[in-house]
Subunit: 127 residues, 2 copies
């Protein structure tokens, strides 16, 4: 797919993908894709990332069921960042929060401001 | 400031910062900060980035006047990405669009879906 080849990947072949809830506009998370994970995402209609730590493809929700159905894919002016709007099932964060950005600087330190939807123990079975 | 030291910077000492319009929720851009640019941002109340291409600090809006007044700074679960909500003066994109993510994949190619607020020639004088 031509636009996949036009993107600017970093030296590891990755491009950051900002994931935004399509309905609420909440920024849910950021993760990395390579060209193949982007192609798999488009083909399946759900997000597939590249795990930098595990060095493997990672279909969001494959363990938790918290899949992200893709509504749109946008590209920034430099073609080095993606913005993907999704319908998120359940929490986006593996810690059970709706968004991974659940901590906010209050002027002195980080405080929890996010909404925890589920106990992560119940999702991943304590793994 | 302690939370600045707790963040996980990449091998270049940088952390990506997603910039979101505080009122509309529109994701405006993504750029990179190092610890000092984040400290400068907090001290000034406006965003200061690190330009990877020019290798210098870059106060958003210093040429264009399109400054970003910081409303909140959040950190993700891995502490390796920032989400900064701002009041954006004018367009965020140097190409004159409200958001840098002005191109969207239509299933075949990228099409312009963003709203151009100003002609970039009038902002940067053709530079």
């Amino acid at each position: 797919m031509s636009f996949i080849d036009e993107l600017k990947y970093n030296s590891d072949g990755l491009i950051p993908a900002i994931i935004q809830d399509d309905k609420s506009g909440t920024v849910l998370m950021m993760a990395y894709m390579n060209a193949e994970s982007l192609e798999r995402s488009i083909d399946s209609g759900t997000t597939v990332f590249w795990s930098r730590s595990r060095k493997k493809f990672w279909r969001k929700g494959e363990t938790s069921g918290h899949v992200q159905k893709i509504r749109s894919i946008s590209v920034d002016c430099d073609a080095d960042t993606l913005l993907i709007r999704v319908d998120q099932t359940g929490p986006a964060c593996h810690e059970g929060y709706r968004s991974c950005f659940f901590r906010t600087f209050d002027g002195e330190r980080l405080v929890t401001t996010g909404h925890r939807l589920v106990d992560p123990q119940t999702v991943y079975g304590g793994k």
